[in-house]
């Protein structure tokens, strides 16, 4: 049975349709990415899922409970963790006071363990917290009651790279313990590290639900290189190369291309040249949208 069910969900604000007939299921023990540019409707969808607003039409459920019905929603929320985008806490309170309040309501069996991984300054007023510390407090409160399902909106925003990596490791370990997670992000590289499947949403509409690996295979890499001398005829004439541009300046050639083929073939090709510099990175999400779903990627 699906742990999170979203069935033909539509949410309108007057004339604006924020979420348009979106359906997907998240299975038990899965980390599910909800991917889309800012303003695509991700936050509206998950806030509706958790009952902060009512759907205009369609159904939402968590742990088999209809979250539009308050009594059922409260049952589901007892076993759910939520980390909103840019979480806000009482600025005059200390982190400890906030966690004490949360613990008194929903429990805190894993509080100490989480505080060893994510350690906001508990005795300081939250108004003196950095963005990263607020985010750490948000992570601790989301997981402290050992929830079965966790819904997170841009969970690593504000965390430094070290903590992002720690959070991603933590989330993978949670998945291995059987925790189900819905993970909103506009950063493809983040989603690929932790998610099993991903739903892509744009302008309120679901454009794809895919296995992460297949999305990555299709989205490819952006390859940039500086090569000493000129490129020979037929350079980078490989299967999977697109958008090839070359520019020759002062005896150095700058190459840029998008690559969706096998890595060995790319390495063999690069090996033919004298490389001064090489960058291989994932294609930006916007490009993936343009490439596979047509139209203009809205930012």
């Amino acid at each position: 049975m699906a742990v999170i069910e979203v069935d033909s969900l539509t949410k309108r604000y007057g004339d604006l349709t924020a979420v348009d007939d979106v359906s997907f299921d998240v299975e038990a023990g899965e980390v599910f990415g909800f991917l889309g540019p800012n303003g695509a409707g991700k936050t509206t969808a998950i806030r509706t899922l958790l009952g902060m607003q009512a759907p205009t039409s369609g159904g939402v459920g968590v742990l088999g409970r209809d979250t539009t019905v308050e009594s059922e929603r409260l049952d589901a929320l007892a076993d759910t963790g939520y980390l909103p985008a840019n979480p806000q806490f009482d600025a005059q309170a200390t982190g400890r006071e906030i966690l004490d309040l949360h613990e008194s309501i929903k429990g805190g069996s894993r509080r100490d363990e989480l505080l060893e991984l994510f350690d906001p300054p508990l005795d300081r007023d939250i108004r003196a917290y950095s963005t990263g510390n607020v985010q750490k407090l948000g992570v601790v409160q989301a997981f402290m009651h050992d929830p079965d399902v966790v819904v997170m909106d841009e969970p690593t925003s504000g965390l430094d790279p070290l903590l992002q990596a720690r959070f991603n490791d933590f989330l993978r370990a949670e998945r291995d313990r059987g925790v189900t997670a819905l993970f909103c992000s506009h950063v493809l590289s983040e989603v690929r590290r932790v998610c099993d499947r991903v739903a892509v949403i744009r302008e309120g509409e679901l454009v794809a639900v895919e296995d992460v690996q297949s999305l990555l295979d299709r989205s490819g890499k952006v390859v940039r290189a500086r090569v000493a001398g000129d490129l020979p005829e037929g350079a980078f004439d490989l299967a999977g190369v697109s958008d090839l541009t070359t520019e020759h300046v002062d005896g150095v050639t700058r190459v840029s291309l998008t690559y969706t083929g096998g890595m060995d073939a790319l390495v063999d090709e690069l090996d033919r040249y004298s490389l001064l510099e090489l960058d291989v990175e994932e294609a930006p999400l916007e490009d993936v949208f343009l490439q596979f779903y047509g139209g203009e990627a809205s930012a």
Partner: protein
């Protein structure tokens, strides 16, 4: 249960202590001035010279007695107007403040019903209101004895006790604004404006043919002058205020339960 109320009450404790100290100073100051007022001025003549509407609005009767003096200066002014407005204003930020700041998202993810959330936020005001009343009652009792014009203990206790339903009714008006509006400043202005308008309605219309309109004002049901000067206690008024408070809180809970929090 009551975790949110306890948390909210603790967070308000310092502010309410400061308010208690401020109003105690107010009470002490009036008590200190009273002996020289009453011996050097003909207060009865002074009251007669004031416009009748003003006399009515501030319950100016027996102004040359400590009871009448404090009923007007401390209880009509500081309690009915200042504290009433403060509670309406303060309660108006209870829900709207959390919605506006985004804190409500985290609160709504807790397994707590919307009705309980609204109810507990409202209850969080209660300990502070009790604290102000206990502290100022004690200070007034001591101060009036220190100046040699002791105020009756029973009447003093009753004026504070019967002010509670009045103050909670003002807070309930604030709460209603707080669930309807998403911006704290709008809710606060609306609530404080409404309570002040109700005060004007009751006091300006009281000697006209339209005095019936003042029946919707909470001030009609709490009269410090009647308690302190005449020793008459409007228990029915307190019951009406309590009922109105319960209705407003229940309506706020119902409204917030159905509301989309953005």
């Amino acid at each position: 249960m009551l975790e949110l109320a306890r948390y909210g009450a603790r967070r308000r404790l310092l502010g309410m202590l400061a308010l208690s100290v401020g109003l105690s100073a107010f009470s002490g100051l009036y008590a200190a001035f009273f002996p020289s007022f009453t011996t050097n001025l003909d207060l009865a003549e002074y009251v007669e010279a004031l416009p009748p509407v003003f006399v009515e609005a501030f319950g100016l009767r027996a102004f040359n007695t400590i009871e009448g003096f404090l009923a007007t200066e401390l209880y009509q002014f500081a309690w009915v107007i200042l504290l009433g407005l403060y509670l309406a204003y303060s309660a108006a930020s209870l829900i709207a403040g959390d919605v506006e700041s985004g804190r409500m998202d985290v609160l709504l993810s807790l397994p707590v019903s919307r009705a309980r959330l609204v109810g507990e936020q409202f209850l969080a005001l209660a300990p502070g209101v009790l604290l102000v009343n206990v502290v100022v009652a004690a200070v007034t009792w001591v101060a009036t004895r220190a100046i040699g014009y002791p105020i009756g203990t029973t009447d003093l206790v009753v004026v504070h006790a019967l002010s509670l339903p009045y103050l909670f009714a003002c807070a309930a008006i604030g709460l209603a604004f707080s669930v309807v509006f998403d911006r704290a400043s709008v809710a606060q202005r609306g609530a404080a404006g409404t309570v002040f308008a109700l005060f004007l309605l009751e006091s300006l219309l009281t000697s006209t043919d339209y005095s019936w309109a003042g029946a919707i004002a909470p001030m009609r049901y709490f009269d410090p002058t009647a308690i302190l000067v005449d020793g008459t206690y409007d228990v029915a008024g307190a019951a009406i205020l309590t009922a109105a408070t319960l209705v407003l809180v229940a309506a706020s809970q119902l409204y917030f339960r159905r509301k989309d929090v953005n």
